[in-house]
């Protein structure tokens, strides 16, 4: 068994006071945002942010070749929502969040323009905005830049679905106006050979509420960043994730909650299951509580269920605290196998071993699926999870 749980904690009080932009200190865990590619050199694999990623399997994305290939877009835009194409300069002007790693910097440089989804202020969009993205082949190198802008006091749900295959690198900014309520779900249901490097950065307005969920099943290598920062006090962010890694898959989820404003909240829950030779998952939960961020609350949790030998689940929570004046900060990380007592209890009621495993796994993911909070998606998600479980648990039961 090669289950390693690289859980570790680093509570650093004296951060480097690198006052590059005059006010913000810089976390050593996350490179500062920059459009300049020189600030994001080709990684060697030894960098803190790259040390878990199998660079050789990225199929040359990081070389940064120009390409005008794109995924096919199929959207459902409820009334009041607009989709337009803007230039890279315009994307910066409206305040997209600058890239903070090489793939997102390359995407911003090479996308040829950004897509803008606009939800006007005070609009209450009850139906989800669906964006179905499909790639034809892993030979296609696709750079993508997306801005989701939700105006003040608006309410909206955005569901991004990724299917098919590509070498896909995307930088996405979610700009959430004051008092708005936004729910973003990103589903990665790629074919086996896809490579997906994604960065979602969220700017939370005053008293706004944001939920962001990453659900990852498919792809050869998927490496996603979900970053949160706050434009003003009072915002809250819930970052959720669900992943299931099969044989050979590398699924990496990196979170960064940057508490740069007082009275802000972040709540992180990621759950994953792994099965099969060389299934590898990585979860990095970085939380930075800056000096100004008094009265904040943060909690992060990652749970992994390892179903067979030969898998590896890395789970690294990091909490950096610059102020003692906080409401609460905590984290939990656990990697476990099936609980024999649970299986015994179910089986002692006549339930077959296979069915018992399925039930326990279903239970493991169930609370998370309920939290996603998109009723029209819940059924489909449950079905997708059930499918995945049926296929995999069946194989495990042999």
């Amino acid at each position: 068994m090669t289950v390693t749980d690289a859980a570790r904690e680093s509570v650093t009080s004296g951060l480097e006071q690198d006052k590059k932009d005059g006010h913000l200190s810089v976390s050593h865990l996350n490179p500062p945002p920059s459009y300049d590619l020189a600030d994001h050199p080709v990684p060697t694999g030894r960098e803190e942010i790259w040390r878990f990623t199998p660079l050789k399997r990225l199929r040359g994305i990081l070389d940064g070749e120009a390409s005008d290939a794109s995924l096919t877009w199929d959207t459902t835009l409820p009334d009041g929502v607009t989709l337009s194409t803007i230039s890279q300069a315009e994307a910066r002007e409206i305040g997209e969040l600058a890239p903070n790693d090489r793939p997102s910097a390359l995407a911003a440089e090479l996308s040829g323009g950004a897509r803008l989804i606009d939800v006007p202020a005070e609009a209450e969009i009850t139906e989800p905005i669906f964006i179905r993205l499909h790639g034809e082949s892993v030979d296609d190198l696709v750079w993508s830049q997306l801005v989701l802008r939700v105006g003040k006091f608006a309410k909206a749900t955005v569901v991004l679905m990724h299917t098919g295959s590509a070498r896909y690198s995307a930088t996405t900014s979610v700009l959430v106006g004051d008092g708005a309520t936004v729910n973003v779900v990103s589903l990665q249901d790629w074919d086996d050979d896809a490579v997906h490097l994604g960065r979602d950065s969220i700017l939370v307005g005053r008293d706004a509420e944001v939920k962001h969920t990453a659900i990852t099943f498919g792809g050869d290598v998927v490496r996603l960043n979900a970053n949160v920062e706050y434009a003003a006090p009072g915002g809250s962010a819930e970052l959720l994730g669900l992943y299931f890694a099969d044989e050979g898959q590398h699924l990496e989820h990196r979170l960064f909650a940057d508490h740069n404003q007082p009275k802000t909240k972040s709540n992180v829950l990621y759950k994953g299951a792994l099965q099969g030779e060389k299934a590898h998952t990585v979860w990095i939960g970085n939380v930075l509580i800056r000096k100004v961020a008094e009265g904040i609350e943060t909690y992060e949790e990652n749970r992994n269920l390892v179903l067979t030998d030969g898998c590896q689940a890395d789970s690294v929570p990091n909490l950096e605290i610059e102020t003692g004046e906080i409401e609460g900060a905590g984290h939990a990380s656990a990697t476990a196998r099936f609980d024999d007592e649970q299986l015994f209890y179910l089986r002692s009621r006549g339930v077959s071993e296979k069915e018992a495993r399925r039930l326990v796994l279903h239970g493991f993911f169930n609370d998370l699926i309920r939290k996603v909070g998109v009723p029209s998606l819940e059924e489909q998600l449950t079905a997708t999870v059930e499918d995945e479980l049926a296929r995999n648990v069946l194989r495990a039961g042999q």
Binding site: Q342, F344, R347, S348, R349, V351, S352
Partner: protein
């Protein structure tokens, strides 16, 4: 008709210092319509007997046989034993996060019967069973045993007994931790079950009070992995008065 026959059962658990023998040859037959009580001091192996019959993987069977109506129970998997008609109400029921009681009960009933229960009557049956055990209908939507109080867990076990309706029920300290009202409610549930034709009960307890509600046909005294004495209901009263001292002393004396 149902006969559970345990013959010379020997069981050990593996410890850091190698295998440790816990059951040292238990022989016991539960026939149709019989209720057997097992009483014995802490650590004497009562739960080990119950778990071994149910097939818990922690216990290694090193000798003896267990048959249900002539079928070799020890050759069956845990779930096969349940489907063959064995039921164990556990001393410490297990929490299963994220799995609702309703889902669990339906899955178990489907497994035991080999077909899904008829939806309309099933929902009624579940509500009735829960109601009779004084568990309110919201329990169906809660996760299995999660956050249940000790007494609620035990009542939930007996609700399962009634719904799954096995041939032989093993109740491991179902009375422990129950207040007097709950004890009555649980006893009534067990009595409804055993009033049916051909059901067997093996009831493990420390207290005679439950035996006043569920009257046993036989009482066995369990000491150090063996049955040290047996008799009728009067034996339970004698144990209550005198404790296990004389059995423990007899057992400690060189053989």
């Amino acid at each position: 008709m149902s006969t559970l026959e345990i013959k010379d059962l020997q069981v050990s658990v593996s410890t850091d210092d190698g295998p440790k023998e816990i059951l040292k040859g238990v022989t016991l037959t539960i026939k149709d319509n019989e209720t057997h009580a097992i009483m014995g001091p802490n650590g004497s192996g009562k739960s080990t007997l119950a778990y071994s019959i149910a097939g818990h993987p922690k216990y290694d069977i090193t000798g003896g046989t267990v048959t249900l109506d002539g079928e070799d129970v020890l050759a069956m998997s845990v779930d096969e034993r349940a489907r063959a008609g064995l039921f164990l109400a556990m001393q410490y029921p297990v929490e299963v996060p994220g799995v609702s009681v309703a889902n669990f009960l339906r899955t178990a009933k489907t497994a035991i019967d080999g077909e899904a229960p008829k939806l309309r009557t099933w929902v009624k049956d579940v509500n009735a069973a829960m109601g009779q055990l004084n568990l309110d209908p919201t329990f169906s939507q809660r996760n299995v045993n999660e956050g249940f109080s000790g007494g609620e867990k035990k009542r939930h076990e007996i609700a399962q007994l009634e719904l799954l309706n096995p041939k032989v029920a093993i109740l491991d300290e179902t009375d422990s931790g129950l207040d007097i009202d709950a004890l009555k409610i649980v006893s009534e549930g067990v009595n409804r079950y055993r009033e049916q034709e051909g059901k067997g009960v093996l009831l493990i307890t420390h207290y005679t009070r439950i035996l006043r509600y569920i009257e046993p046909d036989f009482v066995h005294v369990f000491v150090d992995g063996k049955i040290a004495d047996q008799g009728g209901p009067e034996l339970a009263e004698a144990l209550e008065a005198n404790g296990y001292d004389r059995y423990i002393k007899a057992n400690a004396a060189p053989a």
